[in-house]
Symmetry: C2
Subunit: 366 residues, 2 copies
């Protein structure tokens, strides 16, 4: 079990050492998250975070001809809004990094066409949000970019018909099922030269996940399929950094739901880490219980929306001092499922620290 | 039009400047490509590069139950072989970066499960090979990794039934159609500390593409759909670096085919760059004319195989001194096509220089 260290990014790392332990990147310049954009569907708007989203759409089609085109619009809006709220023109963004669940990264590719900036498409299923954060932070921290916009989206209706049954079919959903979140999150990651940097939450580490597979084959129990990857990435992150779970105010996974969260806690305990005091799951914050989504929310938009709406502002206010955001992905396709393959998982973790609180005269790393 | 500069990576860039012009990354430490792996299908094995592949498979199924699983095996083999030929154990690789065409990145995700290293999934359609090279080079040049393995794959039979018609249908193919390459390429990218670095081709620049769309809607004419993106990335690269086309011995696109290559040349000429003396396309090197593939080869494996088998060894021998490899992707899905969307393209360019030739006492940048 690791030894608690107050700030591994600054104290434990030799200057220039940007790779810690097995899988963790150290962002020594601490890129800032200048702003976020959160666009949510109507059902998400009726959930606990409804008042915190930048926009709740009136319906799930947004005046488009198809749900897929509506998802593209949501992603465009979320990324554009993050850039705008950060005070930049679209042309001032060096790179865009996006991911989504549609075949051939359909939402990201078409959103990137409109955004018209150099684009890196990434795919980690529902872990796209933190995979994009890691790639974006590498570009900024490595000195390759001054500003990177990231984004991730999902849409209940596009996902349901792509991954499970035609939406008209109305198949019964078992209690382990989650509900794919309709929405998109965007964020603008900036380097040290940004005049507002002191007021922004800072990304200090990224832990790149391995693909972990314990043989779950049920696409209606993705929480169990992804939990081993979530536990693996969290435990690896803690060992790599020498941190304890309680060095974080909150360790929050992407879309494990109730079943997956409990399993992650058990698996981490087997490795000697008690996550109980700090573990939560974004999928449990999108909908109220009475919204009848069974095990919680899933989809790229689960972690993207919870970060963009609520966690980001808590990191600015200081309500959260240090966050480990661990978006989780189930790496299956309908084809692999129909061919009898199991559902492997992956998880990417990003450590984010609160903005400096100059009014109190305190250090950002206190 | 740009001014010719002998070596922009070393002469034109201020120390620490890693972003040049609009879209180009400068890898000042010049990561080395330590080794490649090239696994080709039987039809590709009968093509002009047949004797240069590391392995030509006896059939397209490789003892698996499905073509998709066969593609996974090909990708695993190509990446593993690159790592092995570079003299490393799998556990010595810091990160794997892979992409492919299957829904939900099916080949990469399942190959990464076997490779069991931290994985960054990327997607740029058939441009995955150079997108992975750029992300891998950023990780190494930025100091986040010592060794990164990259890979990209495609498979005629998995692509045909996913993107066009059931393979049993045997639909007639128009003359603008290309043939999806069956195969996979892998490469091992290493940093300065590698003992063999002097003998390896060196990656000096990466130009990240924009999504470009001129409204082509015919999935049997992807060369025309991707050509504007190819021309855009090549012209931007030349302007960003201040280089002329003839500063490269070869500028080679990924899978434009005959029609797309001609269009790229025309579009670059409109921007003042004459590519005629140096432009070629990997898609024209996979099959002989008598193999009846119409416009040439396509798929992620087109650029991956041509680089891994032939271009890499020419960069080592010095037959090519400076290469611009520009893999090209058509960012459509069957869903977007059926919904009436046009087919946008993207292209990622990587500049690679020959290995040093110490026996001649000459500089690598002569």
């Amino acid at each position: 079990m690791g030894v608690a260290v107050k700030d591994a990014a600054q104290e434990q790392v030799k200057p220039g050492a940007k790779h810690l332990g097995k899988q963790t990147l150290v962002f020594t310049t601490r890129p800032g998250v200048a702003a976020t954009g959160a666009i949510a569907g109507p059902m998400e708007g009726k959930g606990p975070l409804g008042s915190l989203y930048d926009e709740v759409t009136a319906d799930t089609i947004l005046g488009q001809k198809t749900w897929e085109q509506a998802e593209v619009k949501m992603l465009e809006k979320a990324v554009s809004l993050a850039v705008q709220k950060a005070g930049f023109q679209p042309g001032e963004i060096d790179f865009v990094v996006c991911g989504d669940l549609l075949n051939q990264l359909g939402a990201s590719s078409f959103a990137a066409r409109t955004l018209d900036r150099p684009h890196l498409g990434i795919y980690g299923a529902c872990s796209c949000w933190t995979e994009a954060m890691i790639v974006g932070s590498v570009m900024v921290d490595g000195g390759y970019a001054t500003r990177v916009a990231i984004g991730a989206s999902s849409h209940h209706d596009t996902a349901e018909r792509q991954f499970r049954y035609p939406t008209e079919f109305g198949g019964q959903r078992p209690p382990t099922a989650t509900w794919t979140t309709t929405g998109a999150g965007g964020a603008c990651i900036v380097d040290q030269s940004d005049p507002g940097i002191a007021g922004y939450p800072r990304i200090t580490h990224g832990t790149v996940g391995r693909v972990v597979d314990i043989g779950v084959k049920d696409p209606y129990d993705m929480g169990s399929a992804m939990a081993p990857a979530a536990a693996d990435t969290i435990v690896t992150h803690l060992r790599d950094t020498g941190r304890l779970p309680t060095d974080y105010d909150l360790i929050i996974t992407g879309d494990l739901g109730r079943v997956g969260k409990a399993l992650t806690m058990d698996l981490a305990a087997e490795s000697g880490f008690n996550l109980e005091p700090v573990l939560d799951d974004c999928g449990l914050h999108i909908y109220y219980d009475h919204q009848d989504v069974h095990c919680g929310a899933s989809g790229c938009a689960s972690s993207a929306l919870v970060y963009s709406s609520n966690l980001h502002r808590k990191l600015i206010s200081g309500e959260i001092r240090r966050l480990l955001l661990v978006a989780t992905g189930a790496l299956f396709s309908p084809t692999s499922y129909q061919q009898g393959e199991s559902i492997p998982g992956i998880a990417y973790a990003v450590a984010i620290e609160r903005a400096e609180q100059p009014q109190k005269g305190a250090s950002a790393n206190a």
